[in-house]
């Protein structure tokens, strides 16, 4: 019934689900406290700056697509896009989302339109101008985003999603045109590029917490606490694993291969 080699992973997944759902239920009674995420707290300041400078805000989810292993990063990016669009609508700032995968466009359209409706500015939303499909080819997309940055010189640039070799091209180009930047990705190799150039950075798991952090929904917040219990389990497994392996026991390896 169970696929060999995936039993332990299934057990861990179920344990994590229990922790996460349990913490979400507990959060209804008492909201857990979170450390501040400076990058997300800075979003109103970034949009405010764009309003003062009368320049747009640029948003990208990088090379995110709805299928494959990077899909959660794209969904995390879209959560921030919704929040940012509502802020931009309230401040009267144009937000431009440059799209790599056209399959994201219907989602983004719905999401941004709703954000403008909630801000009471439904008529200000211009779908064709604000959601721009550029290309599904990596460097054609990168060149088009750079061209956009040079021409329209956005006051703020928010990049959340999976990024590859184009990360440094984006970060440097927007830095050069004077944009204040927030970047976030779970792709470890690109984090240093963003860390060096961008004003604010979300590292790894922080992008997945962004939706919950911005929503102020206690239940979503509780799920982050549940996720931290997962980290404790990972710590214990690593600690026990190091001890057992050092003692010459393959027990932990056997357990992981179950």
């Amino acid at each position: 019934m169970l696929v060999a080699g995936r039993i332990f992973a299934l057990g861990m997944l179920i344990a994590l689900w229990i922790f996460i759902i349990g913490c979400m239920e507990m959060a209804k009674k008492k909201l857990p406290t979170f450390r501040k995420l400076a990058g997300l707290d800075a979003l109103p300041e970034m949009v405010g700056r764009a309003a003062e400078m009368n320049r747009p805000v640029h948003f990208t989810t990088g090379l995110g697509e709805l299928t494959g292993t990077v899909a959660p990063q794209l969904v995390a990016g879209l959560a921030v896009l919704g929040y940012l669009s509502e802020l931009a609508a309230k401040y009267g700032v144009k937000i431009v989302y440059t799209v790599y995968q056209p399959q994201v466009m219907p989602l983004a359209t719905e999401l941004m339109r709703e954000a403008y409706v909630r801000a009471g500015k439904a008529e200000a939303f211009d779908q064709e101008d604000q959601i721009r499909f550029l290309s599904s080819e990596q460097f054609a997309y990168a060149a088009a985003v750079q061209g956009y940055a040079e021409r329209e010189r956005p006051a703020a640039n928010v990049m959340i999603g999976p990024f590859y070799a184009e990360s440094q091209l984006f970060a440097e180009t927007f830095f050069r045109v004077g944009s204040i930047q927030l970047a976030g990705t779970a792709r470890g190799y690109q984090i240093p590029f963003f860390a060096v150039v961008c004003d604010y950075l979300l590292i790894g798991e922080e992008i997945f917490a962004a939706g919950a952090y911005l929503s102020k929904d206690p239940m979503q917040g509780g799920s982050i606490q549940g996720q931290d219990y997962g980290k404790i389990i990972a710590w214990i497994l690593m600690f026990v694993g190091v001890l057992l392996t050092a003692a010459g026991s393959p027990a932990i390896m056997d357990l992981l291969k179950m």
């Binding site: 019934m1 169970l2 696929v3 995936r6 992973a9 997944l13 994590l16 689900w17 759902i21 979400m24 709805l66 959660p72 990063q73 969904v75 995390a76 879209l78 959560a79 929040y83 799209v99 995968q101 056209p102 399959q103 466009m105 989602l107 719905e110 999401l111 339109r113 709703e114 954000a115 909630r118 064709e128 101008d129 959601i131 721009r132 550029l134 599904s136 080819e137 460097f139 060149a143 440094q168 091209l169 970060a171 440097e172 180009t173 779970a186 060096v196 150039v197 790894g204 798991e205 992008i207 917490a209 939706g211 919950a212 929503s215 979503q220 799920s223 549940g226 996720q227 997962g230 990972a234």
Partner: protein
Amino acid sequence: MSLFVRRQIPIAIVAITSIVVMADYFLKIPQTGPVVKDLQNWGVILSAYALGFGAVNLFIVHTRHISKRASGQWPFSIWLLFILAVFAVVGVFIGPSSAQYMWIYNASYFALSATIYSSTGFYIASGCYRALRARNAQAVILLIVGSLALIRNAPAMAAGFPIFVDIDAWLNSVPTTSAQRGIMIGAALGAIALGVRTMIGRETAFLGRRTEAER
């Protein structure tokens, strides 16, 4: 459109699809295999269909630029639409795997793509210049580690002072790898938590944020 149609149906589709795909991964159920295969095929078809949206969006945006004579943009928009038409005509009438289509693709896109990729080196250099300034303790560490990596990767230095090769190997295999794994574990847990929220309908940001009344 009612809230049920806009929210509950998409959430139900996401939850059912996720359960079926996970069941196929973890359990030996012969019935799930073909279903998952079909779901993946639907994904491919939807992606291909969505490309049409992208092409229409490109056409509208660039037609606007041309009609408004958008400063610094409209000549490029004409060029883009022309190239779009060339690719479409050659692809439809001669075939996307024809020698003519491949020649246009290789002679234009490949060369341009390689150019953009190679320009990354210059961007990294300018980023590196800003990063390697000792403004505080963390920047000093970055400066030292960055300098060691630069020295190790300079062939003459690596040949003359092999100690730098060992230092760089240790930096890569111990502190860098452990930090990367920490980030990877955290990101995986974050993705699982996001998945749980999405499956049970708490994370609806991808459908638009919920109002207080809808919570």
